[in-house]
């Protein structure tokens, strides 16, 4: 039995609530005590020289803290992201100094732009070696400054409890984001008088949630009540704010059609009658076209990314914009708001709903239906029911969905399959779509699925990945093997870097420059890791193989050979307005 009891300062030496009692512990133990106090259950990490004292302490905490040994530190960050996205909790990463720390950068950047709460702890060389080009010394604080919400270097163990408390508070509060704490080796080893862990819930210079201004709520409600063609667009803010219920009540009372960004997907069920589909470059036809026909545009927890807006000077110029966001810096950043509604939408939406008139807009909703029918006719029907014997990505996603009843967590990588999965997956519950939206990180899905499975062990987790992205983090198959994680891996193999190829076809006269990618025998590779697998070439084999994948007790890799030169449509070409969306 190697586990240790959490250090309860109050009862140390049997004296309850006596004079402030302290206990001598190492900085490393303090790190782990902080994790336990913050409710951390799973850590994704990779050991190395400068973080060895923490790993040594972790050896005695194995019963309390699950550690998933990844195969590359980037994998640890994406796993922590996947964990955070499905659980709503903060993901935790341990890595060593130097290359261990630099390998975190992609994941930090991804978490930063997609507002994912994450705390990364990196080991650092001894404090006296800082700045000497010591072995595996890198200035991780300055490297990660642009990609962290906050970061801090600890050189003295006495700081560890308060700094980690700040780290967890900053990562998870307000608009969440990644925090990195760099701890020098001497601080990890240093013995100090530990007075217990106190959670942080306030930092004087930090305002996680802006004050709600009642006058803006009133103005917004009046504007919506007077609208003839109101349109709601929502993003991950609804999910991060845990405001799914409040959001549903808001659109239902106002009778407001609502479309989502890819990070907002699954916040309301796909089947909800007011869910009119996906926004953006490869989103649905109606929401894009009608953005430029609505009279009031209500943006909830989304940041008007360029992949959503297309050309800004052709975006919703006719509409009055109401922007609900927790981050004041997002207001007016890309699209000017007539009414800014600062605050967590969990707080602001009910205030707004209260002032709304109960309404329906049958004619306006009909317009969305008409556009949907047109899109079905030109795009969706062929994608879901191809007239060729060659499999399409869309039908694979549809069949998967029918099998899981939309209850699975779908983790996607980046590229064509990502757009198709987000377009055609049907979701019944929130936090079901995990994808790299802002940064577009190929290689995200496999490690993120590992984290998602750890964060939601009771749910089916399916990683949908392209043949290109899979090879960027393929080594994480080792993590799945060692940790015996029941992750379903579905590779949609078109033997191309499909999204780039699509652009080369459409905008570069089919000059297919380095998109022709060769792959190993994925099933054989999986077999090498002890993971079952199968390849599907024919439509007739698809359903049985999907069933086998889902039913299999343990990880399973299913490779589906799909059309080599299929394109994702509709598409808003770069430099065009949303209303210029092309169906073919």
């Amino acid at each position: 039995m190697n586990s240790v009891e959490a250090i309860d300062i109050k009862t140390v030496n049997g004296k309850a609530n006596a004079e402030p009692v302290t206990k001598t512990i190492s900085g490393s133990i303090a790190v782990l005590e902080a994790c336990i106090a913050e409710g951390v259950e799973t850590i994704f990490g990779y050991p190395g020289g400068a973080i060895m004292p923490i790993y040594d302490a972790l050896y005695d905490y194995r019963e309390k803290l699950e550690h998933i040994l990844v195969r590359h530190e980037q994998g640890a960050t994406h796993a922590a992201q996947g964990y955070a996205r499905v659980s709503g909790r903060t993901g935790v990463v341990f890595a060593t100094s130097g290359p261990g720390a630099t390998n975190l950068v992609t994941g930090l950047a991804d978490a930063m732009i997609d507002s994912t709460p994450m705390v990364c702890i990196t080991g650092q060389v001894f404090a006296h070696l800082l700045g000497t080009d010591a072995f595996q010394e890198i200035d991780v604080i300055n490297i990660t400054s642009p990609v962290t919400k906050w970061n801090y270097q600890v050189t003295d163990a006495t700081e560890i409890p308060s700094v980690l408390a700040k780290a967890f508070y900053i990562a998870g509060s307000g608009r969440p984001g990644p925090v990195l704490i760099d701890i020098t080796k001497n601080a990890q080893l240093q013995q100090f008088e530990y007075a217990g862990y106190k959670k942080c819930n306030h930092i004087r210079s930090y305002r996680p949630t802006p004050n709600i201004r009642k006058e803006y709520i009133e103005q917004a409600a009046k504007m919506i009540n007077e609208a003839e063609r109101p349109f709601v667009i929502f993003g991950q803010g609804v999910i991060l704010g845990k405001a799914e219920k409040e959001f549903k009540q808001f659109i239902e009372k106002g009778g407001l059609p609502a479309a989502w960004t890819i990070l907002g997907a699954s916040a309301i069920p796909t089947s909800h009658p007011l869910n009119v589909g996906m926004l953006g470059m490869h989103g649905n036809y109606g929401p894009n076209v009608l953005t430029n026909q609505c009279d009031v545009l209500i943006a909830v927890g989304m940041r008007f990314d360029d992949r959503v807006t297309g050309r800004l000077d052709k975006y919703a110029r006719q509409a009055k914009v109401i922007h609900l966001d927790i981050d004041p810096a997002e207001i007016d950043k890309n699209v000017k708001a007539a009414v800014p509604v600062w605050g967590n939408c969990k707080d602001t939406l009910p205030l707004l709903t209260e002032k709304l008139e109960q309404k329906v807009y049958p004619q306006w909703l009909q317009k969305f239906k008409e556009h949907e029918e047109k899109e079905y006719e030109v795009v969706i029907n062929e994608e879901l029911n191809p007239t060729t014997p060659i499999l399409s990505m869309g039908e694979v996603i549809r069949n998967l969905n029918e099998l899981t009843n939309g209850d699975a967590v779908i983790v996607t990588d980046v590229g064509q399959h990502q757009m198709v999965a987000c377009r055609y997956a049907k979701f019944t519950q929130s936090k079901s779509n995990v994808t790299s939206g802002g940064l577009g990180t190929m290689g995200f899905a496999l490690p993120a699925a590992i984290g998602a499975k750890c964060g939601a062990p009771e749910r089916t987790v399916v990683a949908v990945i392209g043949d290109g992205g899979f090879q960027m983090t393929i080594q994480e198959l080792g993590t799945i093997m060692q940790s015996k994680l029941n992750v379903k891996i579905m590779i949609l193999n078109n033997r191309f870097l499909g999204m780039v190829r699509q652009w080369q076809q459409l905008f570069h006269e089919k000059r297919y420059s380095f998109v022709d990618i060769e792959s190993p025998d994925f099933v054989m590779v999986a077999k090498g890791y002890g993971i079952a697998g199968k390849t599907v070439n024919e439509r007739s084999e698809l359903d049985a193989a999907l069933k086998e994948m889902i039913a299999h007790d343990g990880a399973f890799l299913l490779e589906v050979m799909v059309g080599k030169e299929n394109n994702v449509f509709p598409m808003v070409p770069q430099g065009c307005g949303v209303a210029e969306i092309r169906l073919q």
Binding site: S145, K149, P328
Partner: protein
Amino acid sequence: MKQEYTISVYTENQIGLLNRIAIMFSRRKINIESLNTSPSEIEGIHRFTIVIHEVEDVVRKLVRQVEKQVDVLKAYYNTNEEIIWQELALYKVPTDEIAEKVKVERLLREHGARAVVIRKDYTIFETSGHREETDKLISVLEPFGLIEFVRSARVAIIKDSSGFHEKLREFEQAEPGEEIVENEFLDKQDEVFSM
């Protein structure tokens, strides 16, 4: 229209914050014309004064991003009309040249300068003022063998800041800032075993 804006940032005194603020400008490829960090009138609260040449819309968005930093208390941007500002300049000139050829007294009076050091070999003048004023003295001194010139960053006071000052004082009294922790080990290599 691009013009000069002075950005005043009230912050915690934190190592690394200078970089965090500086990279927000470099990320957008905006040149920082001048940057000064100093304590403010309130103990424990630091102040950055940053001058850039930009259009207001860009400056407004930038200041919001700066204010979003965890360790930043408040950030303002102002045009030159809204602030009182000064820069300090030092000029090193050969003493014999200046004593022989120029009436030093007149020079000092005309340019509001004062001699900080007078040695046999050189004299150091100091003046403060706006950019044009300190520039003017360079051109005056250049013919007499100006050896060295240096100008400080702009320091600025916002004309209409009394309200914020009061708030800041109350704030610091209610919640005193934390002590800064520096690396105490850089000269202790002999005492620490390392591997």
